[in-house]
Symmetry: C2
Subunit: 353 residues, 2 copies
DNA sequence: GTTAGCACTCACAACGATTGAGTGCTAACA
DNA sequence: TGTTAGCACTCAATCGTTGTGAGTGCTAAC
């Protein structure tokens, strides 16, 4: 069976209508609302064919049709028109990135928040994560008489604080000396060779054994923490706004799924490398049964050379794919442009290793 | 009308039963379940009296009784037995604090999470906030060729990072010099006198005008940000578990309320100073209409000398007050003990100003 | 003060009838 | 061969009716 132009139009009508109303669409509605020049009986015949192809389904005998996962898939792959963003929205997205680019965690949070507000769906943003992590710089900063913060800057520009509690805190000069020494040691030895770094450090600063030991431990923790995916969510409650989730049990199971970290790993599983496309996973195409009624639109953004994160939009299968893809592409582009403009200096000067 | 012993017992029966089941309790149920030695008719008479006093209400004519806000209030103030925590729970609470005391944001998050898991209610924790904020130490740390992190340590031991983007980043030695200079300047002038600090700094480091300007701005932001209440929530979804909120609209309105920052300010409004009591606000006693079906149990914890935060537990009016108060008191005690043990050195040595 | 007994109330569930949106099929038409 | 009008059929949703049972308030007697 072939899909002629009219059948495509009917499928599109069903999908766009259903996205708007969440109600099954009947043949008469299509005949009246869309000017196809044929009667409802003809549309009925076409709908029967579309159903045979598995593109639409009937919730029950005496109801209209709604799109199936396969129907959405065809729509998304072949029929969907890309949507122009309004200048206001484009501006808003640009500003979110521009204003928060300095603080990576703020940036992630604000990005998620803005996308949630714009799309009305649920947003998950993962922090950029580098494949190979290396420590770039370490600095000790005094906090009070018993604690020092180790500020650890990694190659992929994440800045993390680790508070170290010690018996007594050396003065600032000494802290600077230790900081300098650890930076030198990290340059000289590979991070794998913690033994050598430790012994070198302890030899040079025997009077601050406790501090140095804890510092090294913090650095190890930082390296290990890199394996943890940090992520931010926003708009989780938007789920409750959709009639398909007005059943509390359904909403709860989705919430539970979104709370689990492993879920995200499954969901955002790259099956390989970062790439530039926007990925769409529709309904049952993902294999988590709690999210079978949801679709996920996601895209990676690169952050520096080999570091990247993911932004995912989670909504009902009946989501506005076209708008979502536009907004997502726009924010990714903004992120990458601004990030690139910052790190441009780096390649030219090429000082640091 | 007076409340004799039996009436108290009946009220208590109604409250404890309703907390468990969320169903109205009838006179026969009480007669059977609680051995009061009187018939249901007698209990009926007493219940009628309790209703006249406004301590219980009937949802409709042919239903049992449920406690009113005033009933809960009487129970909480006069009748409630304090509950011993099991050693496991006590241990868990202790460990949460002990293991995370170093990183204040982690500590808040983990505390909220643990309480949410233990109580099954919604937890809101505000970061400790000082009345008067002063900057204790500033340190610049290089990130890449275009950016520097300003690590700002405040008197109440919060450590915040601000990323500064500049045309070119001076070498580490210079960064240390500038850090030292700003620390000195902050010591010499009051923070109110930013003018003087700025001119002194710019005079001393004219070649890093951009960096110094941005640094000063970051410091100002840090001071201002202190006015913002930072808070962490956990267990928001627990709301959906309670039958009284199984109506999606109700749940949504509560979620919306919890999302609003101003709500918290209203909710946690201290009407004055920090004190040691656990406060309980029952149902309509708070004046936010979205939360009229919720109760709030909250307590302040002090963090250092004049800095304190608040932990709030939000649940249905039908919440287990006794357990909640126990858990909350325990975590507050843990927090304060551990915090005190850390800062003990401070008062003895009394070095820094 | 307590209790048994009884009439009364009212939410809730079950049932059946009605409605209406929507379909599939058939026969006729271009 | 594609299109259409017409008609019988299906079935979720709505609505009124009825029965049921948990629970009350009142009264009279103990």
């Amino acid at each position: 069976m072939d899909l002629n132009d009219r059948k495509f139009k009917i499928l599109e009508a069903i999908i766009t209508d259903y996205i708007k109303t969440a109600e099954p669409i009947g043949s008469r509605t299509i005949a009246k609302k869309y000017d196809l020049g044929v009667s409802s009986a003809t549309i009925r015949n076409d709908m029967s064919d579309l159903e045979e192809l598995g593109l639409i389904v009937q919730p029950h005998t005496s109801a209209g049709r709604i799109p199936s996962d396969r129907g959405y898939r065809l729509y998304v792959d072949k029929m969907m028109q890309s949507q122009e963003l309004s200048p206001e929205v484009a501006d808003l997205l640009h500003n979110v990135v521009e204003n928060n680019i300095g603080q990576i965690d703020y940036l992630m949070q604000q990005t998620a928040k803005a996308l949630a507000a714009l799309t009305n769906y649920t947003i998950v943003v993962t922090e950029p994560k580098s494949q190979k992590l290396s420590i770039k710089h370490v600095q000790l900063v005094p906090v009070d008489e018993r604690s020092v913060v180790a500020v650890i800057v990694t190659e992929n520009k994440s800045v993390k604080n680790h508070l170290l509690r010690v018996g007594s805190v050396p003065d600032i000069e000494q802290l600077n000396n230790i900081s300098q020494a650890i930076n030198a040691a990290i340059q000289n030895y590979s991070l794998q060779d913690m033994e050598s770094i430790a012994s070198a450090m302890l030899q040079a600063h025997p009077e601050n054994r406790e501090l140095v030991t804890k510092l090294l431990k913090a650095i190890l923790t930082a390296v290990k923490q890199n394996d943890n995916v940090h992520y931010y969510t926003s708009g989780v409650n938007n789920i409750l706004g959709f009639p398909e989730f007005s059943d509390v049990e359904k909403a709860k199971s989705i919430f539970r799924a979104l709370e689990e970290k492993d879920m995200l790993i499954t969901l955002f599983d790259k099956n390989g490398e970062h790439n530039d496309e926007v990925h769409i996973v529709i309904g049952g195409e993902n294999n988590m049964k709690e999210l079978q009624d949801c679709s996920i639109v996601r895209a990676d953004y690169s952050y520096g050379n080999d570091s990247y994160g993911t932004i995912g939009v989670i909504g009902p299968t009946r989501m506005n794919y076209s708008q979502t893809v536009s907004v997502l592409s726009a924010i990714i582009k903004n992120l990458e442009t601004v990030i690139k403009s910052i790190s441009d200096g780096k390649n030219k000067e090429g000082k640091n290793g």
